[in-house]
């Protein structure tokens, strides 16, 4: 399954190939994770907050090709994308395993992913390096088998998304 999550509406996503699912997070109601760990210890695999996030994390789990489109803030994802990523922990179990010599959570039924992160907005080289380090860490917790970060100005986001979708179609 191919999934695009964006933090803004995009024209380039209005006519996508049938095998690509797009969610514009800015159009959804997604509250902050409250850190209750209910998704691990009360209703395993289900978030106790029953808002739109519960439609999104199963899609994240199923996807094997993933495109995240997010504004960058302080070297990380800006609020809209970060809120969703925090709400996605029901896809993991409470239990730990060792991965790359570090402790990480056991994943539930999460497909290994080829992830592309389209990171937009003004960024310095230092901020870009930090963002890449963040995605490298995410890779271990979010089942990214491979990942790529593409930085671009806001006005180029649509064009870049189209390029990524075309590349998926050709692969």
């Amino acid at each position: 399954m191919k999934l695009i999550l964006t933090d803004c509406p995009l024209d380039s996503c209005l006519s996508l190939p049938g095998d690509v699912t797009w969610m514009d997070l800015s159009a959804l109601q997604i509250r902050n994770c409250v850190g209750c760990f209910g998704c691990w210890t009360k209703t395993p695999g289900r978030c106790v907050i029953r808002d739109d996030a519960v439609k999104v994390y199963p899609l994240i789990a199923q996807s094997d090709k993933l495109l995240y489109v997010s504004r960058v803030k302080y070297g990380g994802y800006d609020t809209i994308m970060k809120t969703m990523l925090e709400r996605a922990i029901p896809v993991q179990q409470a239990f730990l395993r060792i991965l790359d010599g570090e402790t990480h959570h056991v994943q539930r039924a999460v497909a290994p992913k080829q992830a592309t992160i389209l990171a937009y907005g003004p960024t310095s080289p230092e901020e870009q390096a930090l963002f890449r380090r963040l995605v490298d860490r995410n890779a271990r917790n979010m089942s990214f088998e491979s990942w790529r970060v593409v930085f671009c100005p806001e006005e180029q986001v649509d064009a870049r998304v189209k390029e990524e979708v075309d590349a998926w179609a050709e692969s």
Binding site: T41, V54, G76, R108, R133
Partner: protein, 201 residues
């Protein structure tokens, strides 16, 4: 002037580990401290309060490898505020995993915020196994490192510190399994249920 404002950036601040670390910090700090919890609606008051302090300590958990949205949103408000004062910003980050270095990216996000907005960056303390260390026999290690952090800020000799439980990864895995199973048991949830591979069943 001269005091330290401690801001708790955990989304579950009133019952958070961050609150426990903040309490330890207040106990060891030679400078007077005041403690506040960041909510979705108190940013203007918190920003105004920073006008009169010399130091800020951000205490927060690692969330999805970075800073939690609760704190991210506050930093964005601080950036937009018309604060004239530029207190030194230090951070105490705790993470669930054993390795404190998993907090490095979040620490650098705080440093980047400081650099982008003209705030002097102070000390950083990273605590691995931060979900459990306060209730474990290794609480004294956490307390010791918080003491070091407090001293470095009071003396203005800023540095980076870290601590974690001195356990092998295998032992930490078994200890954490026991910990999570006990939380599940309190809710009447079995190990098998917790190990479900289903998402939104």
């Amino acid at each position: 002037m001269g005091g330290i404002i401690i801001l708790n950036g955990s989304p579950r601040a009133p019952r958070s580990n961050s609150k426990g670390y903040a309490q330890l910090f207040a106990r060891y700090s030679a400078l007077p401290t005041s403690y506040f919890e960041i909510t979705g609606s108190n940013h203007p008051q918190l920003c105004a309060g920073l006008e009169d302090c010399k130091h800020v300590l951000l205490v927060f958990p690692l969330y999805a490898d970075g800073i939690p949205v609760t704190l991210l949103n506050f930093l964005k408000s601080l950036e937009q505020s018309s604060l004239k004062n530029r207190p030194v910003i230090s951070a105490l980050i705790n993470c669930g995993f054993l390795e404190p270095h998993q907090c490095d990216v979040a620490a650098d996000m705080i440093r980047l915020f400081c650099a982008q907005n003209g705030y002097p960056a102070g000390s950083i303390l990273k605590i691995g196994s931060g979900e459990a260390i306060l209730e474990s026999p290794f609480r004294f290690l956490a307390a010791g490192s918080v003491k070091k952090l407090a001293r470095s800020i009071a003396r203005e000799e800023y540095g980076a510190f870290q601590t974690t439980m001195p356990l092998s990864k295998g032992m930490f895995l078994s200890a954490s399994t026991k910990y999570w199973l006990s939380l599940g048991r309190k809710n009447g949830v079995t190990q098998q249920q917790m190990q479900s591979m289903e998402i939104e069943p």
